[in-house]
Amino acid sequence: MSDWKSLEVFGLAKEDKQAWLLDELNRLTLHHQASCQPYANLLAGQGQQAGVAESLDAVPLVAARLFKMLRLSSTQPEDVFKTLTSSGTTSQVKSQIVLDRDTAALQSKVLVSLLSSFTGKARRPMLIIDHDGLTSNREGFSARGAGVQGLSFFGRDHTYALNADMTPNWQAIDDFIAKYSSEPVLIFGFTFMVWQHFIQPLKASGRIDQLSQALMFHSGGWKKLQDRAVSNDTFKTTVRQVLGKDVAIHNFYGMVEQIGSVFVECEQGHLHAPSYADVIIRDQETLEVKKIGKSGLIQVLSFIPKSYPGHSILTEDLGRLLGEDDCPCGRKGRYFEVLGRLPKTEVRGCSDVF
């Protein structure tokens, strides 16, 4: 077992981080090679050696879409604790992420240590911008459900702000406000849902400045908000106008394929890699590593995935590397921004879209 607990969440500068994370990742590559036949095949077929990477960018990577095409698991069937699926419409093929107990527990613990570096140790009353039907089903557990459950460790008195039809549950919201309006609270939700189903109705109903000590985490992508021409700045300004001017707002970036590896936005608006994880930006055309300031496909690295070979994944998200170890917020490690999704290449074959 690794000594991750002794690491300061954002305390490792380049050299130390490389030494620690690379060792973990090399070990994971060997472990998955021994435990997951398709992964072993993938390495062999591409002529890649396991466990010998001399730098983070030399760790073999898996294309994120592979988790939609294959069940990649390093866990014996009887040890599967739960299987996560990516959210998506019914017509899309979903990713399948297999977790055993240890990986699930490790992931929660890492998430706690990561996010508590923003929230502090005390558990805050928590308002979840979703409905409570999300986390009940363990088979085919959705990423949204997992996200909510992962974060609920930080809170107490969990209150779901929405009804199943996505309308505000005013009773619940008003009770929450009445109890906690002058206390530090935690608000969590998916970016679009926070905007559309919480902030807008609050504003429209005149409930202003009611949760001024809130800290908000939100995630899930900007696509739908970009369609409405809502930028991160607009989002923050509006949330503060509605909830209170001192509200702390942190977007974060993560994905079901490497859940637990969460990149939180700092006060400067930069997404940060914690000591346990890292990002690499690769050229869209050549997949070569890009330098600071350049944009490309985002590769994510994490020491957590032991139950499935997801420790090094090339996502289909585009991002730009902004710097390393020198963010004005004081956190060490790489920081970056997400620019959107790789444009969907239309699948045109004989199969059709009626």
């Binding site: 095949n41 077929g45 294309a63 095409m69 090339l314 045109r348 074959g349 199969s351 059709d352 879209v353």
Partner: protein, 373 residues
């Protein structure tokens, strides 16, 4: 739910069309197709539509007419009412099968999906303007409707021949709607296509040309359609020649396939047991057997080595369609055909060229009837 029907071109009263006396290769219909062909070849159209225009050139139409003119034991007559359901993503198909139905004198309703592609839009606009000039489409209709509506049922009962193009899944779902006993049906489901290549030192000089054709077959419209080869079977071909072939293919491809697509495809086939042996603009995965036939992979092609043609034939999946072949004589092709479900051979670079004999079926024959005298 009979509402929301979209008419893109042709006439709206198809359910009321009365019987007409139009015969196959009627001069009026030939002339309409010739005008369509000329318009496509002289205007600013996509490569897909230009290919359609070329295919419908007058000399081609006349040649087909000649083929049928010689038979004095039968009279060629239309089937009558034809209902064609076509996928949206292979623009050509609906136009080709419609053109043949039209040429054979039928009344035709073509259903395309509601989201028109640019090519479809352009073609419908052109058809409409030709119709205004000639009234050539008075018994033809190009429509869209919500697939949950009862229009598929109505048209299935209206038609005398139903022709379905598309994925296995959509064909199976339309087949839930039964036809009347007197109605015929033809289906064109998902297929898989390969290449069988037999190169010798003597073919060295031909490799660049072959490779260019192969590159076109795998990248036309940047898609790998049913007929596009996804696996290469090398038949008694030296490694060095194979390598030279792939280098030549690579040189023709540029960055046709995005890097991430190539990565996904290659990793998928490797995970199933393949070995990546060529890494550039196209990735080549070596394996003793065909892998990954159920996925639409881009920027990757598999290969296997054989010294025995009969062995290659047994490797071909049941839904095999086209074999882009080089170096196979008639006997060799018979060896493959008798041991597999192969439906057509094609020359390298020509696999996506539509032919009226498609998927093993002569479309002009099924879209007409031979009335014995």
């Amino acid at each position: 739910m009979s509402s929301n029907i979209q008419l893109w071109a042709g006439s709206p009263d198809y359910l009321q069309w009365s019987r007409t006396q139009i015969m196959p290769f009627s001069e009026k219909r030939v002339q309409f197709l010739v005008r369509l062909s000329e318009a496509l070849l002289s205007g600013h159209y996509s490569a897909t539509l230009i290919a359609l225009g070329f295919w419908l050139r007058e000399s081609q139409l006349r040649q087909w007419q000649q083929e049928y003119a010689k038979d004095d034991k039968v009279i060629l007559a239309p089937v009558g009412r034809v209902f064609i359901v076509s996928p949206s993503n292979v623009e050509g198909l609906f136009a080709y099968s419609w053109a043949l139905s039209y040429l054979m004198g039928n009344q035709t309703v073509v259903r395309v999906s509601e989201q028109l592609t640019d090519d479809q839009q352009a073609l419908f606009t052109l058809l409409e303007s030709l119709d205004v000039q000639t009234a050539g489409l008075s018994e033809q209709a190009f429509i869209s409707y919500d697939k949950r509506s009862d229009w598929t049922l109505k048209l299935s009962h209206w038609c005398q021949l139903r022709m379905l193009w598309g994925s296995d899944q959509s064909i199976e779902s339309i087949r839930q709607i039964p036809l009347l006993a007197q109605t015929q049906e033809w289906v064109f489901p998902d297929r898989y296509s390969v290449s069988i290549l037999h190169l010798t030192e003597a073919d060295n000089a031909k490799i660049p040309k072959l490779a260019e054709g192969f590159a076109r077959d795998v990248s036309t419209y940047q898609q790998q359609a049913c007929a596009s080869p996804k696996w290469v079977f090398w038949y008694q071909t030296d490694d060095a020649l194979q390598q030279r072939f792939w280098q030549a293919v690579d040189a023709c491809l540029g960055d046709v396939f995005p890097a991430n697509e190539r990565l996904v495809a290659s990793q998928y086939l490797c995970a199933l047991g393949g070995t990546e042996v060529f890494h550039d603009n196209i990735k080549v995965i070596d394996s003793a057997t065909v892998l990954g036939g159920e996925q639409h992979l881009r920027g990757v092609v598999g290969q296997s080595q054989f010294s025995d043609l009969a062995m290659i034939a047994t490797q071909l999946p049941d839904h095999i369609q086209s074999v882009a072949a080089f170096g196979l004589d008639q006997t060799a092709k018979v060896t493959v055909v008798t041991r597999s479900n192969v439906r057509q051979f094609a020359q390298m670079g020509r696999v996506l060229n539509f032919d009226k004999v498609w998927d093993g079926i002569d479309l002009t024959t099924i879209l007409s009837k031979k009335v014995r005298l």
